[in-house]
Symmetry: C2
Subunit: 298 residues, 2 copies
């Protein structure tokens, strides 16, 4: 499918792509740009004959696929290097979690001869690093490809094929829609989880008790999400403007929830709680989770 | 350990206790008070020779252990029946999730000759009903026993032994402390999950898009918790006054989180996100969850 692929940043996502490309034989050779010595030694265990580069210079000039898997705050630096060293036939993509900012950055800084079609595989975990990667990470997961006006369809189709080979269900969206949708289904839930953990920490100080040891009744699940990579999530929170609207809507709802409790409005509270179950059913129907009950992880 | 046990309400928790008592041979015979015909036929599959009662009358007068496992809003009615039919040597307990309200109710309505020591096993799931019960539900889970002033220590010790036989780690607390702790580790997380799901539903209407199908990136985990039993959770939200304080602290933190994002305060945001990981470590160290990473349930 490709002659030479360059993976820039080889953590959980980058190394999972590396494993999948290798396993499905999607590229004759693979170059990995990775600075961390610890990560490099871990990646070497996946496949011994990977070429590593520590600077993006003319060593990368003959690649035909570039996948950027670093935190988004690294992108600008990377674009300037790509401008200097890539040929126009090369396809560039990335796996960043917010899209309007990336499209803007690319339109501003990327050499107009180069082609970048942005991707967002909806896959990951609270852990990071290549040691947690898996060739099956993208299997049956959504991958959003960002469609821009005047984008060359041929390259979109190539990228679509690539993600499908990795097992993903591909959907095309514009960057605005993407950022609105994921502000609700991913970015707000993470922010809320972080905020809940902060609230538990504060309460622990106020109450002077070890609350955390009694977390099995709910807090535990949030703590997992709130243990996600801080650099990745800082970049997301700073780059998706829709998060502020999402927080405002959440706060409005929380305030109304509080009032329902304070006024002991039985009917309104019950209808609120019953309604939530509908979403659970939709999530299971759309295969975003399984119906198997959870009694805590043993 | 007991001659005759009465389980009042035999859903997920009641049927799990039933299974555990049966398996560990903790009671010579078991009576189940359960109204739902569907539940009764399911419980009969667990053990055929259980006696079912549909009213609490003199049929229950010779029991020496009563475990109330109904929603808390049923307790008052039950207490009035117990007053009429129980003997003073009997030990009464319950598994309700809030405690100050139960202690008040008991002190107001329970016949002073009867002895009630309140329990709260920290175990459960988003599902309800006896078909999901398990004899191992309480294994290695906390069980809080409420200690009141002037409570007869002999009965506390008996109850302690009972929960330990079911595999629980027992801890004694007063009802105030209990309600403060679990307002943070359980009640607030559930309320926040319900509120997040409501916010996603509202956004779906506002954006006119099927957001829910992209829930794998975080929302999914909250939807599970927000699919919990509505009667149980209505009773909890209406009976733990500490929830309002918890909501207020959460809102204050959320507002400050929003300001940090709006002002793009890198240092503050990073320290917030890094701090959350500490709680995760505490939760794993205190065996409230396992360190195994989660990539979504397949």
């Amino acid at each position: 499918m490709f002659k030479k692929t360059l993976i820039i940043g080889c953590g959980l996502i980058g190394s999972s792509i590396l494993r999948a490309i290798h396993s499905k034989k999607l590229s004759k050779s693979i170059i990995v740009f990775e600075k961390s010595a610890k990560n490099i030694s871990r990646i070497k265990k996946i496949k011994s004959n990977i070429r590593f580069v520590k600077i993006l210079n003319n060593q990368i000039s003959d690649v035909d696929l570039v996948i950027i898997c670093t935190p988004m705050s690294e992108y600008k630096k990377i674009i300037l290097k790509l401008n200097k060293n890539l040929k126009s036939k090369c396809l560039i993509t990335d796996v960043g979690s917010t899209k309007t900012n990336i499209i803007k950055l690319k339109n501003k800084y990327l050499n107009k001869k180069l082609i970048w079609v942005s991707s967002h595989p909806i896959a990951g975990s609270e852990v990071s690093g290549p040691e947690y990667g898996s060739k099956n990470l993208f299997l049956n997961k959504w991958c959003v490809i960002i469609k821009e006006k005047r984008k060359i369809p041929k390259k979109i189709n190539l990228l679509k094929k690539f993600w499908k080979k990795l097992g993903s269900k591909v959907i095309l969206m514009d960057s605005n829609n993407h950022d609105k949708i994921f502000s609700i289904t991913s970015h707000l839930p993470h922010l809320i989880a972080y905020n809940l953990i902060k609230t538990a920490q504060d309460s622990q100080k106020i109450q002077r008790k070890n609350l955390i040891q009694y977390s099995a009744g709910g807090l535990r699940d949030f703590s997992r999400i709130a243990a996600s990579n801080e650099i990745m999530w800082r970049d997301i929170f700073f780059s998706n403007d829709n998060i502020i609207n999402a927080i405002n809507l959440f706060s409005k709802n929380l305030n109304s929830f509080k009032k329902i409790i304070q006024s002991k409005n039985n009917k309104k509270l019950l209808s609120k709680l019953v309604n939530s179950k509908k979403v659970r059913k939709q999530i299971i129907l759309s295969k975003q989770d399984v119906a198997k009950p959870d009694f805590g992880r043993e």
